[in-house]
């Protein structure tokens, strides 16, 4: 029992950053039909910005994370305006997703290698935002950074949730994800919504990358694992499902912890792949797949 509780706690803590990542990835795919393979690099930008904010600009931790989130938000907006908008005008509708995939791939390569060119292949980290550890339920001890990082993720998700469901702009985003042409007919400015959506998704990745800087140091290739894991979450829960992302993130967090403990670091990916293959065979709609959501099947 104690083991299970510990596992769940670690899973929740580890999963929280994947939830943030998967939320942005799912939002961008759901609204704009862009499979964003540069999402990990937005996470990386968040981490580098946090490093710069905390060490060079000596900002306090919370401001550092806000600075990083705002920075990635702006980067996301610029990418959308400069690259995806012209592509939207030129691409054939049937080829849009694959064209976007390749475009995000190009962006990812450029960002990754630019980071490597500027900062080199080294880890730029900090010892901690919030020194010390806390024991949870008296059984396990976690660093304050992980705990507060989790709290920040949860807060960001809540704010994002409120924005998406309660505000006018948030509802417009939902409307566009359901019916682009209909939304445009009732006066939604599509260009604005698309730019905002991409920027928001990027901002969420920025929060994920910056809040755990003490645990995952900034590094050119650091985006690979969060990207892989957030795609894992999306496949696990079924495309277009937003609510279950929280459960999906926790499951992936637990799986990661388990495979790390039993198989060692090198075999983690193999375990993940095995689980994904089983899901695709047994429940290709994702384990929370339901009618009405965009399915992963070819129409």
């Amino acid at each position: 029992m104690e083991f299970l509780i510990n596992l769940l706690t670690i899973g929740v803590l580890r999963g929280s950053s994947y939830i943030l990542m998967a939320l942005g990835l799912g939002l961008i795919f759901g609204v704009m039909n862009i499979p964003n393979f540069a999402h990990g690099e937005l996470y990386m930008i968040g981490a580098y910005l946090a490093y710069i904010g905390y060490t060079t600009l000596s900002l306090p931790p919370v401001l550092t994370i806000i600075f990083a989130a705002a920075g990635t938000f702006v980067v996301g907006g610029i990418l959308e305006i400069v690259l995806f908008r012209p592509l939207r005008k030129r691409s054939l509708p049937g080829r849009w997703i694959m064209n976007c995939f390749l475009l995000t791939l190009g962006i990812s390569i450029i960002l990754q290698n630019t980071a490597q060119y500027i900062f080199g292949y080294r880890y730029l980290g900090i010892s901690s935002f919030w020194p010390g550890t806390t024991s949870i339920l008296g059984t396990i001890t976690v660093s304050n950074d992980r705990l507060i990082g989790f709290a920040i993720s949860a807060l960001a998700v809540l704010i994002f949730w409120y924005f998406l469901t309660k505000t006018k702009t948030g509802r417009a985003i939902q409307a566009v994800s359901e019916d682009e042409i209909g939304a445009e007919l009732v006066g939604v400015n599509l260009n604005f919504i698309f730019t905002l959506t991409f920027a928001l998704g990027a901002g969420l990745a920025g929060i994920a990358g910056s809040s755990l800087l003490a645990i995952n140091a900034a590094h050119p290739m650091m985006g690979l694992n969060p990207l892989f894991k957030s795609w894992f979450v999306i496949i696990l829960i079924g495309m277009g499902n937003v609510g279950p992302i929280f459960i999906g993130g926790v499951i992936v967090g637990i799986l990661e912890t388990l495979s790390y403990a039993y198989f060692g670091a090198g075999w983690q990916n193999a375990v993940s792949l095995a689980v994904i293959i089983i899901i695709l065979i047994v429940a290709p709609q994702g384990i929370f797949g339901k009618k009405g959501v965009q399915s992963i099947w070819e129409k």
Binding site: L87, R90, G106, I276, L280, E298
Partner: protein, 315 residues
């Protein structure tokens, strides 16, 4: 019409002749080695384009399929002492089989999932190649017997030309058959292909398997030419390079990849000491082609060729 038909046969033969004459003029040296590496990438690009350019599925783990072929052939040749000339069948079969199974699993789903899963598979192949030291010797590299007992690159070059030409002919014949028609229908508009009764999953799996088998075949050559295999052959970086070459060459052209590899790859050799810049250049070219010139070099060359022909004919 007549001229069109003739030029369709004459042009490839002319190009082939030029390729065959290359070592006669340049001999065995640095230039020939660059030529071989460029051709390896170009032929891989051709195999990649067979899927990407026709059924519009991006095989984002293509280098892994080459790596799987290379490692299968290398491991069998070293473990059992079998001649590398025979292990070619193993390379093609294993890569094709893995591609078939992956296709079976993912090609019923939306295209992006096939791309995603191919990428996952490549990540796993890479970490297996590193961690399964007993089989692959890990990062220290697997030493593999050479195809020929000669220090010269010239025979290897001719083998590669033969391999490339064989792959080109097979893929072109497929494209011009009823299969090719089905592939293009699927790639252009899926709904129409359903309406016309094409069993799209079947054709997609056939296409994907062949493309993966081609990667295995090139992997076989790679293994027994370079004689050392490291986990890096399966790295996503390699896939990115192949993919960029294929799209810069022009999707749906097959030969465009070879042209772009022969132009882009040697130019980027200058950036070899700074690999980051090399990949940044690839990234920029990929974005430019994607957004502004989706036809790539092939459509540029076709345009030049047809306007030149029109000029000649109108005189």
């Amino acid at each position: 019409m007549n001229i069109e038909n003739k030029s369709n046969i004459i042009l490839p033969l002319l190009v082939l002749a030029l390729f065959l004459l290359f070592p006669v003029f340049y001999g065995d040296g640095y230039l020939l080695r660059i030529m071989i590496t460029s051709l390896i990438i170009g032929i891989l690009g051709m195999g990649f384009d067979f899927t990407g350019g026709f059924i519009n599925i991006v095989n984002f783990g293509y280098a892994a399929f080459m790596g799987i072929g290379a490692y299968s052939s290398g491991i069998i040749a070293t473990r059992f002492g079998i001649s590398p000339w025979l292990t070619v069948f193993a390379a093609v079969a294993v890569s094709g089989l893995v591609g078939f199974l992956l296709g079976l699993l993912t090609l019923r789903l939306r295209g992006i999932f096939a791309a995603c899963m191919a990428w996952f598979l490549a990540l796993v192949a890479h970490s297996l190649a590193i961690n399964w030291v007993g089989l692959t010797r890990g990062s220290s590299g697997l030493i593999v017997p050479s195809l020929l007992r000669t220090p010269s690159n010239v025979p290897f070059y001719y083998i590669l030309i033969g391999l490339g030409f064989f792959i080109y002919v097979v893929l072109s014949l497929l494209i011009n058959s009823q299969y090719g028609t089905a592939f293009s229908v699927i790639g252009q508009d899926l709904e129409a292909s359903h309406a016309s009764g094409v069993n799209s999953t079947k054709y997609k799996i056939i296409n994907f398997t062949i493309s993966c088998a081609v990667a295995g075949l090139v992997g076989w050559f790679y293994a027994h030419y370079f004689r050392i295999l490291t986990p890096d052959v399966t790295h996503t970086r390699q896939t990115v390079e192949i993919l960029a070459i294929a799209y810069i060459g022009g999707r749906g052209s097959l030969w465009g990849s070879v042209i772009s590899a022969l132009i882009v790859f040697p130019l980027l050799e200058y950036l070899r000491p700074v690999p980051e810049l090399r990949l940044i250049v690839y990234g920029f070219m990929l974005i430019l082609v994607m957004v502004y010139y989706p036809g790539g070099m092939a459509s540029l060359l076709k345009f030049v060729y047809s306007s030149a022909k029109n000029k000649v004919l109108s005189q």
